[in-house]
């Protein structure tokens, strides 16, 4: 590298500006590819951005900590965004108030299934304790899941990646599973997608049917709350 250019790099790589800017650029590149590919679930923009950034940091030999000095400004907004989830949750709640108790029963069943089946299968195949704890909240929307992982002894950044993968899996396998079970009710289909695969499943449900979409977003919010309450209790019994 040219010496002057190298000096600029040395300076920039220590300021928060670079980490913040590359995060935004990588995400927009991810969105561009995702949109161009007709919203294909495997080309999730977050997944693309993460792959691009990990590649960039490895090629330039930059430490994650240095990158995070800048990226933390984006990361910080997860807190207020989690609080803001109360707004769509309330709006969906108003729509389905009457059948609320039944919906709650279905979501609680799904929430317990998600955590117990993930822990059980991974444990049977010999996963480490850290991995089990990071897997447990994988069906919950990322900001809540990461908070849960942090509170229960998992690895939040590993959880973030597992959450995204779960979302993609749900979007890809959901239609097939629901058809195989002959579930024709849009309410049940949406609820299942939102509970199992949070925002990515909800986005998929919204593309297919309005009712399914509304039930999916309610399920995403309530499953976040339910898992945050239930999971520490379940983990307390197991570990």
């Amino acid at each position: 590298m040219d010496d002057g250019l190298y000096q600029i790099w040395v300076y920039l790589s220590t300021t928060p500006l670079l980490g913040l800017t590359v995060t935004l650029v990588a995400y927009q590149a991810g969105m561009w590819i995702y949109t161009r590919a007709g919203l294909h679930p495997l080309l999730n923009p977050v997944l693309i951005a993460v792959v691009l950034l990990v590649g960039l940091l490895m090629v330039t030999g930059t430490e994650y900590r240095t990158y995070f000095d800048g990226a933390q400004f984006v990361h910080f907004m997860l807190g207020p965004a989690t609080v803001a989830l109360a707004v769509p949750l309330y709006r969906q709640f108003q729509k389905v108030r009457r059948s609320f108790v039944l919906i709650l029963v279905a979501i609680l069943s799904g929430s317990a299934t998600a955590a117990l089946s993930a822990i059980g299968v991974a444990w049977a195949l010999g996963a480490s304790r850290e991995t089990l704890l990071s897997l447990a909240p994988k069906s919950v929307t990322a900001p809540i899941a990461m908070g849960i992982a942090e509170a229960t002894g998992g690895v939040p950044s590993l959880t973030a990646v597992l959450v995204i993968l779960t979302g993609i899996l749900g979007a890809v396998l959901g239609t097939w599973t629901l058809n195989a079970l002959r579930i024709t009710d849009w309410r049940a289909r949406g609820l299942a997608m939102g509970t199992a695969s949070h925002g990515i499943g909800t986005a998929r449900a919204l593309q297919v049917n309005d009712v399914a979409g509304a039930f999916a977003s309610l399920a995403m919010g309530l499953n976040g709350l339910a898992t945050a309450v239930l999971l520490p209790l379940i983990l307390g019994l197991i570990f």
């Binding site: 997944l47 707004v87 919906i103 396998l173 629901l178």
Partner: protein
């Protein structure tokens, strides 16, 4: 987005953190904040327009917000390499199981409730 409603979200988060830490709850502070805001909306009975816009603006770019944490996966690549089999099988099995259980329970519940109103969709 108005400054007032951003402040409101941060205040709910802060109160959530204080309650979570103060009572030693296993719940993350922002989740407690979300539950409190949800309760406040139920009591108030509607969502103020400014809050609707602020929350909407923030949630529109929600997926961007977990990119920095996602990049943290580079610190755990060895762990994923060592445990790729349990991780991938657990993800697939658990996702399919969760979809199946949630949908079947909801279907069972709906049938039980809709019977009175005769709205049960006849799907054999």
């Amino acid at each position: 987005m108005t400054l007032g409603f951003i402040t409101l979200l941060l205040v709910f988060q802060l109160v959530g953190e204080v309650i979570s830490k103060g009572l030693d709850l296993p719940l993350p502070g922002p989740v407690v904040g979300m539950a409190l805001l949800f309760l406040a909306l139920v009591i108030k009975g509607d969502v103020p327009n400014g809050l609707k816009d602020t929350a909407g603006g923030l949630l529109k770019h929600l997926s961007l917000l977990f990119v920095p944490a996602g990049v943290g996966v580079m610190l755990h690549l060895h762990m994923i390499r060592d445990e790729w089999l349990p991780i991938s099988v657990a993800l697939v099995v658990s996702t399919v199981a969760t979809i199946a259980v949630t949908a079947l329970v909801m279907k069972g519940c709906c049938r039980f409730v809709d019977e009175d109103r005769g709205q049960e969709p006849n799907d054999g």
